[in-house]
């Protein structure tokens, strides 16, 4: 009954809603012509508001010494310094770290072999050696130290939390709520408030990273504990196991492989965040990329970006292999070999402490500068040959679409934009969309960076439209075609493990510094997740439904447009939502390559102490934009009725 009335309602409503939206937009443009330029709340690059200055003062005040926060900072700092002393930085009066490159490569490869298999051990050895050959050994080890520190702390907190959420329903509900919220916040925005408490440097970077990286392991540990078969737990209890025995002997061992997947995701998230944390002065590869981006040295940026990718691949493969290891205990032969391997690794460590060639990566073999030069040459060549074309595309899109959209958003009076957005939110998502939108817009005005927010919003909207279009096409294709899925999925998976910084480099080469560059990078960053969600939605359409459509003689296009897309529309709504969030976080990172606006404000806030408060306000504005877009799309998604069989999309939240 409900579904019948529901579909009638939609039939009647749809066209009418479309007409209202159209009228609203036309009215907006008309009003823009009249009211252009008044009440735009524009704020110049070095200008600040009272709020910004007050926030700047707060940093000085907090930085003046809060014993508790200082204690945390010192402990985390010492932990990072300890790890750096072991593998990265000269320490204990020696010109080299405790363990030189040979020892690190040997121990890493040995661990990869012991927890994974010999293939990933070879990959680890090759990958790490390649980092050294790139001339980035110390930077890589700094990044690795920070990542290890953040991951260890994240696991220390995250696994117990995950176990708790796995055992207690109430804890699970609370945890899910918080983790969902955290997931909708862009990476970037953790950084600004944290610097308020922990100043800039490794400690703040590590803490930001662990906050960003902990959710996956909490979520997956809870999930793993909750999916242990009920009978196994009952069997253990029926034999008189105590709570602790059930946990240690049954729940945790049976959760192992899923928890390892969580650890894998945590490591990948940490690596990505550690590179972004270069913005708050975290040492390592991110720093190299950032400096190169700022001086527009594509070659060096590419070399360091490549090192991040190599590190990401090694960490990803090793943890994946560790998760895939079967239950079996090691055979005697393997035990003997493992023992021998340990001896070899220890000998390598001894070498690396004794001989300079094994401690300091030989500079003679540096191929990093060659890579940088080759990349620069290639970039120049591309710009010479295709420059006309790529810059033409860039200028056409910028002039034809981006500038008008931005003008509409930035030159309209703020209250007009606010009214239009709230009205759109109400139309798409009823009061559930309108109320959060109104609140967020009000707060955006209060942050004093309204104008910059509108610039960022324009880029975000444009990029999202492209992402959704590309994502739906690719998603439908891979959802319907197994072969397409089998070769596209690894690429998409790889795409998601890359730190966002890396995306900027090739686009910088193609398009120079501009808003368009950030948009293009954002599209590439967000397309994988969108495609995957759409493909999963398409695949979740019951086979019988598709067969029924085929049996009445539908064409392929009819099956897609009349059956698969409508049935999968909740998944598509989710894809739009996630696409928006990904785009927003990338557009902000794009502030570094000329996208300006909020991203630039935040970066400038880190760099110039008198702009600190403004940067913080801009960070807050990013959160507000993210929350607003998230709420509106989620409310719109909730309006579309849920079909049986499309529930799979829900799991992805």
């Amino acid at each position: 009954m409900a579904s019948i009335t529901g579909s009638v309602e939609i039939e009647v409503r749809r066209p009418r809603r479309g007409v209202i939206v159209g009228v609203l937009l036309v009215a907006w443009v008309a009003a823009w012509f009249v009211l252009k330029g008044i009440n735009t709340l524009a704020l110049g690059g070095q200008e600040t508001t009272g709020l910004h200055r007050w926030l700047t003062d707060q940093r000085d005040f907090l930085g003046g010494g809060n014993a508790f926060l200082d204690a945390i900072r010192v402990v985390v700092d010492q932990f990072v310094i300890l790890l750096q002393a072991v593998i990265a930085q000269p320490s204990y009066g020696r010109p080299v770290p405790l363990i030189g490159w040979l020892g690190v490569v040997a121990v890493s490869a040995y661990l990869a072999w012991a927890f994974g298999n010999w293939k990933v051990a070879v990959l680890t050895a090759a990958g790490l050696t390649f980092l050294g050959l790139q001339g980035l050994w110390q930077e890589s080890m700094d990044t690795l130290s920070l990542t290890i520190a953040a991951v260890l702390l994240a696991l220390l907190a995250g696994i117990p939390l995950g176990i708790w959420a796995g055992l207690s329903n109430r804890a699970f509900k609370v945890a899910t709520l918080i983790l969902d919220l955290m997931q909708t916040l862009p990476t970037f925005v953790y950084l600004a408030p944290l610097t308020l408490f922990f100043a800039i440097g490794p400690a703040a970077a590590t803490i930001a990273t662990l906050i960003y990286a902990a959710p996956p392991v909490v979520r997956l540990t809870a999930h793993a504990i909750r999916s242990v078969p009920r009978e196994s737990v009952e069997a253990a209890r029926s034999l008189g196991s105590s709570g602790g025995q059930t946990l240690m002997k049954v729940l945790l061992p049976m959760s192992r492989s899923t928890v390892v997947v969580g650890i894998n995701q945590t490591i990948m998230a940490a690596l990505s965040m550690v590179t972004v944390a270069a913005l708050i002065d975290a040492p390592g590869l991110g720093q190299t990329v950032l400096k190169a981006l700022q001086t527009l040295d594509v070659g060096v940026a590419f070399n360091a970006g490549l090192a991040i990718v190599v590190l990401a691949i090694v960490l990803d493969r090793v943890t994946t292999a560790a998760g895939d290891r079967p239950w079996r205990t090691a055979s005697l032969r393997r035990k003997v070999l493992l023992g021998a391997g340990a001896v070899v690794a220890l000998v390598a460590v001894w070498f690396s402490r004794t001989y300079v060639w094994a401690a300091d990566f030989p500079t003679g073999a540096n191929i990093g500068s060659k890579i940088a030069v080759a990349t620069t040459d290639a970039t120049n060549w591309v710009q010479d040959v295709f420059g006309g074309f790529t810059f033409g595309v860039r200028d056409a899109v910028t002039k034809g679409v981006l500038n008008p959209l931005e003008a509409l958003l930035t030159e309209s009076p703020w209250w007009l934009v606010a009214v239009v957005i709230v009205a759109l939110a109400a139309l798409l998502g009823s009061w559930r969309g309108a109320v959060p939108a109104a609140v967020c817009l009000g707060l955006l005005v209060a942050t004093g960076v309204w104008h910059d927010s509108m610039v960022t919003l324009a880029s975000t909207l444009l990029a999202t439209v492209v992402v959704v279009a590309v994502g739906i096409v690719l998603g439908v294709w891979t959802g319907r075609n197994h072969r397409a899925d089998s070769w596209l999925r690894p690429i998409l998976d790889a795409g998601q493990t890359m730190p966002p910084f890396v995306y900027l480099v090739p686009f910088l080469a193609l398009f120079g510094t501009s808003r368009f560059t950030a948009i293009a990078a954002a599209v590439v960053f967000a397309v994988p997740v969108t495609t995957k969600i759409v493909a999963d939605g398409i695949r979740a359409v019951p086979v019988a439904t598709v067969e029924a459509a085929n049996s009445v003689g539908s064409s392929t296009w009819q099956v897609i447009s009349k059956v698969q897309l409508p049935v999968a529309r909740r998944a598509i709504a989710l894809a739009v939502n996630q696409g928006l969030i990904y785009v927003l976080s990338m557009v902000v990172v794009g502030g570094l390559v000329g996208a300006g606006a909020l991203g630039y404000d935040v970066a400038a806030g880190f760099a110039q102490s008198e702009l600190y408060g403004k940067g913080l306000a801009a960070g807050l504005a990013i959160v507000l934009l993210g929350v607003m877009l998230d709420r509106i799309t989620q409310a719109a998604a909730r309006r579309t009725r849920k079909f049986k069989g499309t529930a799979r999309g829900d799991n992805l939240w």
Binding site: A236, S238, G240, P253, R256, W327
Partner: protein, 362 residues
Amino acid sequence: MTAQLEYPDLQDSEALLSIQGLWKVFGPKAARVPRRPELAALSRAQLLDQTGCTAAVRDLSFDVAPGEVFVVMGLSGSGKSTLVRCLTRLIEPTAGSIYFEGEDLRAADEKRLRTLRRSKFSMVFQHFGLLPHRKVIDNVSYGLEVRGESKPDRRRRAQEVIDLVGLRGNENLYPEQLSGGMQQRVGLARALACDPDVLLFDEPFSALDPLIRREMQTEVVRLHREVGKTMVFITHDLSEALKLGDRILLMRDGEAVQLGTGDELVGAPADDYVRDFVRDVPRADVLTLRWIVRQPRDGEELAGLELGPDVLVREATRQVLEAGGAVKVVADGQLLGVVGDEEILAVVADRETAPAPARRLS
């Protein structure tokens, strides 16, 4: 561990396990349901409608004698699996009492309950509930491990029960390397390893192929004969219930419909539900002569043959048909009545004669 081969004498022996007025209600404020008569009287659907609660077990009372195989039977959703979990409080009952060897289990604290589970009760599960990360021998010795026995001791004991259930040679395999039937043997061995007084079976064979299932049923009969444990056996399979059970409790919607021996259920169903349930049972395999005796007619010619009342109709068929007259049914030298071709054939041809309970002689 004296093997109790004899049919246990239910009247005289002290009950090992005694259940009185047991309730399990799931849902909000479940405790009020058994307490308030007007709620307790509602049907399952009405209860769900009015309170949002589901009564999985409703006011059950029964005794289990030492050495008995007590079968609880019912369709899915009848509450039998909940019932068996309530017995050791894996699921906490809502109301009622459970006495084991005179001790009130509902008053036991967590520690005492653990001790009881470690030494007195064991359970075998439908989907085996094995631990995939442990070898067969470590699965079997799990119960011994949690109660703190030394490694050599538990190895020795685990090996004993592995031999007992016919798993010798598979000790170092992992569960996933075994077939379903073999896995359930591991489950059985794990339950036996602690040398419990009571074995609880929760539909242990319903996930197995029919051939394997029959083999495992025979195995349980053999084990019962060899180790003489008291068993509470949950099943939805009537033939399994009749094959294994000394007594059978038939449940429907959480309530007891009938409690009795297999031939009582078939010969004297308490209501239409039970009658429907036992309709397809080959009656000659279940009913004994006791159920079909009649008084000799005047001047009827009797054969010289005498049979006992507990002889199955199937076994007596040939003898009665070849005797050339009605056969006397005698217990302890006393004539209970006679059985002729007519009575035998009625049962063998499976015509439902619906013997009235009053006809039952005992």
